[in-house]
């Protein structure tokens, strides 16, 4: 989006402003960092009471049309909720559930939409099963197979990094079906036959699972419309880039505050350590990286869905937010000195979050590679 003078314009709606305010307060009240630490140790995957509050605020239906019980807004409004949650390292199923809803909106049959979207608005958790043991970010690199048998599909193979699989009422699985990519919806009953194992992941606020599908079968009616599955995968990938950027911008802001607080109070050699330029200047660099990433984030949010510019924008946002959070959290560990090396220092929580988010849907280098191919082969 450009104005008449060809300067870029960031669209920012009243709804975004309102949601940003509400979510900022909510995240501050409900997700102080010691809560994130308690969540790590908790036996339940999900903090039901907080989840119910988020549901009752309508956050699960933000980007779902009103006819299915949502607010009929868009992902731009979801961004304003995800960013403050990311700042406080909340580890909720909001993003994955939203992404599944997006896929259903793009490629679901009328029946699938009618069943699942209202449920999601009411708090049904949905999980994404896209990644495979090879770890390749190319979502079309599929080894999980779906073989037709009569009016059923029999699945085989393994998906990894399925977050909140045990809490989920629905799992969206990408599969190879007759050498093409396809997306299948599995409800709790269908999942019963799968082997679900907890994974040990670097971001301890996440509950992640490996699912072995061998022998799982579902009715073919659970297939998302095959002709639209490529479009749905594209939607998931771009929406994921957008929402992960929001999460990472929030995280970068949080970790900058964390390190700034320390630099203002810790003394060495009789001076507040924040007065040393060796610490001060890199933190300023982190702030500049965050400022840039956040500007890209809200630009991308405002034009999400634009055929080419929309994809460019989300990939840029993810690349820059990833670099910002990575740099800020790495330096935060270092600048906390000995304390930074301990588990008690919050810097490591952000560093782990950075690695997690960068591992999802492609890191900064991966995004730049895609951007190069999109931008540099056209004569300009």
């Amino acid at each position: 989006m450009w104005d008449a003078d060809q300067r870029p314009v960031i669209k920012f709606s009243d709804e975004q402003e309102q949601l940003l305010g509400v979510a900022t307060n909510f995240a501050r009240d409900k997700f102080p960092l010691d809560r994130a630490r308690k969540r790590i140790a908790a036996s339940e995957d999900l903090d039901r009471s907080v989840w119910e509050e988020m549901v009752s605020l309508g956050w699960l239906g933000i980007a779902i049309p009103e006819e299915f019980g949502g607010s009929g807004l868009g992902l731009a409004e979801v961004v304003t909720v995800v960013e403050p949650l990311g700042r406080h390292l909340a580890g909720t199923p909001l993003v994955s559930t939203t992404l599944v809803a997006q896929a259903i909106l793009v490629a679901g049959t009328p029946a699938q939409k009618g069943v699942w979207l209202p449920k999601i608005c009411q708090g049904a958790i949905a999980a994404l099963a896209l990644v495979e043991p090879h770890g390749d970010w190319n979502l079309k690199h599929l080894t999980v197979q779906a073989r037709p048998e009569g009016d059923r599909l029999v699945l085989s193979g393994i998906k990894t990094f399925v977050t909140d699989a045990l809490s989920a009422e629905l799992v969206l699985v990408s599969v190879a079906l007759a050498n093409a990519q396809a997306l299948v919806l599995l409800d709790k009953a269908a999942l019963g036959a799968a082997v679900i194992e907890r994974e040990v992941v670097i971001d301890e606020t996440r509950r992640s699972y490996r699912i072995k599908f061998d022998g799982v079968s579902v009715a073919t009616t659970n297939l998302l419309q095959p002709s639209l599955s490529a479009a749905a995968l594209k939607q998931i990938d771009e929406a994921a880039c957008l929402l992960l950027s929001a999460e990472m911008c929030g995280g970068a802001s949080g970790v900058i505050d964390t390190v700034v607080d320390y630099l203002k109070t810790r003394k060495q050699f009789g001076r507040l350590i924040g007065s040393y330029q060796a610490l001060k200047h890199p933190v300023v660099d982190a702030l500049l990286m965050l400022d840039a990433a956040r500007s890209h984030l809200y630009y991308a949010a405002g034009i999400f869905g634009d055929p080419i510019e929309g994809e460019l924008a989300v990939r840029m946002a993810k690349a820059l937010a990833g670099d910002a959070l990575t740099f800020a959290s790495d330096r935060a560990i270092q600048f906390h000195g000995g304390f930074g090396f301990t588990y008690d220092c919050d810097a490591q929580l952000y560093r782990r979050r950075a690695i997690w988010c960068e591992a999802q849907h492609g890191d900064a280098a991966h995004q730049r590679r895609k951007l190069a191919d999109m931008m540099l082969d056209l004569q300009t």
């Binding site: 003078d5 300023v284 500049l288 956040r294 500007s295 890209h296 820059l320 190069a372 540099l376």
Partner: protein, 401 residues
């Protein structure tokens, strides 16, 4: 008063057409990118004529009062005209100090006589202005200015030296920060601000050769130069406040500038074009994935600058750390330019070793020159290192270094 959207669109079309039709032809020599780089007479006269032409067409000083030579129109129209100049990459307005520093200051706090004397000459580039702020020994420490303006009856006697006076040779006037009171308890209170004539006895302008090998800056020496007390603007002893107000105009932090762009930054699209032209192993350099990765980084960085400006206009999106984007834009922009130019140089392969003046130099050697000139922005107006301090202390609240 403010025009409606249809009027604005019509005006934009008119401006666009005018600049398309009237943009100057290639002069046959390499143009400077800002007034600080005007190093030869042919560059100066070319640029002065161009500013005059734009003013005569009515696209400069549009929002300044009609009685002094301005257009008496709305700022919105001027902004449209200015952005069109940027967009069409026409040459910049060379009387930069007059248009962006001195003019707004005079309109804001000058006397009626001063307004009548100075404003029109600023706009039509008849009277070139320069600035006298920095001194050789106090590069980054403006408040410590030592140039002496000793009161003597109805005159002041100037002794000392100012540095980095761009266009000093062509300037008719200077805005000058000088020390009128050595006994002031506070060093800031000893300063006064003047609008002085340059072509008087006791003022000597000596060119400084830049690292590019070219000229553009000067050192100005004052030896018993006498000026009238009417040159004073603001109160005697109130020079620091006037200087700060002037810098606020310069940064565009407050309105009041005459319009017209004053700096022609390099753009990444030009570097992409260069990457298509440069050769690596018989192939265009743009096919090299490592070069592509670097280009994408620069594209994103350039876009960041524009998007930061766009976000700064949306209050709720800058509420977390107010002022952060404004305060860091000089640092981010100038360091980006330095890196962009350096990368553009490296793309040229063996031909990176050509320099301005060689007929085989890529685009007349403009990249070599603009890389060197890029340091004027990372050093001048508070070095990048000082900018880091300012942001760390004012935005993040970190203790002083």
């Amino acid at each position: 008063m403010s025009p409606d959207k249809q009027d604005l669109d019509a005006f934009r079309r008119e401006v666009r057409a005018w600049f398309e039709k009237n943009r100057p032809a290639d002069p046959g020599f390499l143009l400077p990118q800002s007034f600080m780089e005007v190093g030869t007479d042919e560059q100066f006269y070319f640029l002065r004529d161009w500013q005059r032409k734009v003013y005569d067409a009515g696209y400069l000083g549009m929002a300044w009062p009609k009685e002094y030579g301005g257009g008496g129109k709305s700022q919105t129209l001027q902004d449209i005209a200015t952005r069109e100049m940027v967009r069409q990459k026409v040459p910049f307005m060379t009387n930069t100090i007059g248009l962006n520093w001195a003019g707004p200051l005079i309109l804001n706090m000058g006397s009626e006589d001063q307004k009548n004397a100075y404003i029109k000459g600023i706009l039509n580039a008849e009277d070139i202005w320069c600035q006298g702020f920095s001194e050789p020994d106090n590069g980054s420490d403006l408040g410590n200015a030592q140039l002496r303006a000793e009161p003597d009856g109805k005159e002041f006697v100037l002794n000392g030296s100012k540095i980095w006076t761009s266009l000093g040779k062509h300037a008719k006037y200077m805005i000058l920060l000088a020390r009128t009171n050595l006994a002031a308890t506070n060093k800031y209170e000893g300063l006064s601000f003047f609008l002085i004539p340059m072509k008087i006895a006791g003022i000597d302008v000596v060119p400084i050769r830049k690292l590019t090998g070219e000229f553009g800056f000067n050192q100005t020496f004052f030896a018993d130069a006498r000026i009238s007390e009417s040159c004073l603007i603001g109160q005697e002893g109130g020079g620091w406040q006037v200087a700060m107000a002037t810098l606020a105009f310069e940064r565009g932090a407050v309105g009041g500038q005459a319009g017209g762009h004053s700096m022609m930054s390099k753009e990444v699209s030009e570097v992409v074009r260069l990457a298509r032209a440069a050769q690596r192993n018989g192939h265009p350099a743009i096919e090299d994935p490592v070069i592509r990765d670097r280009l994408v980084q620069l594209i994103m960085e350039e876009r960041s600058l524009a998007l930061n400006s766009a976000r700064a206009r949306i209050k709720p999106l800058v509420a977390e750390r107010p002022g952060s984007i404004d305060m860091s834009s000089k640092l981010a922009g100038s360091e980006y330019q330095r890196r962009l130019n350096q990368f553009a140089l490296s793309l040229q392969g063996a031909n990176a070793a050509y320099y301005v003046g060689d007929k085989n130099a890529y685009e007349r050697g403009q990249w070599q020159r603009s890389y060197f000139n890029s340091f004027s922005a990372t050093i001048g107006g508070g070095t990048s290192e000082i900018q880091h301090n300012i942001i760390g202390e004012r935005v993040l609240g970190l203790p002083k270094s």
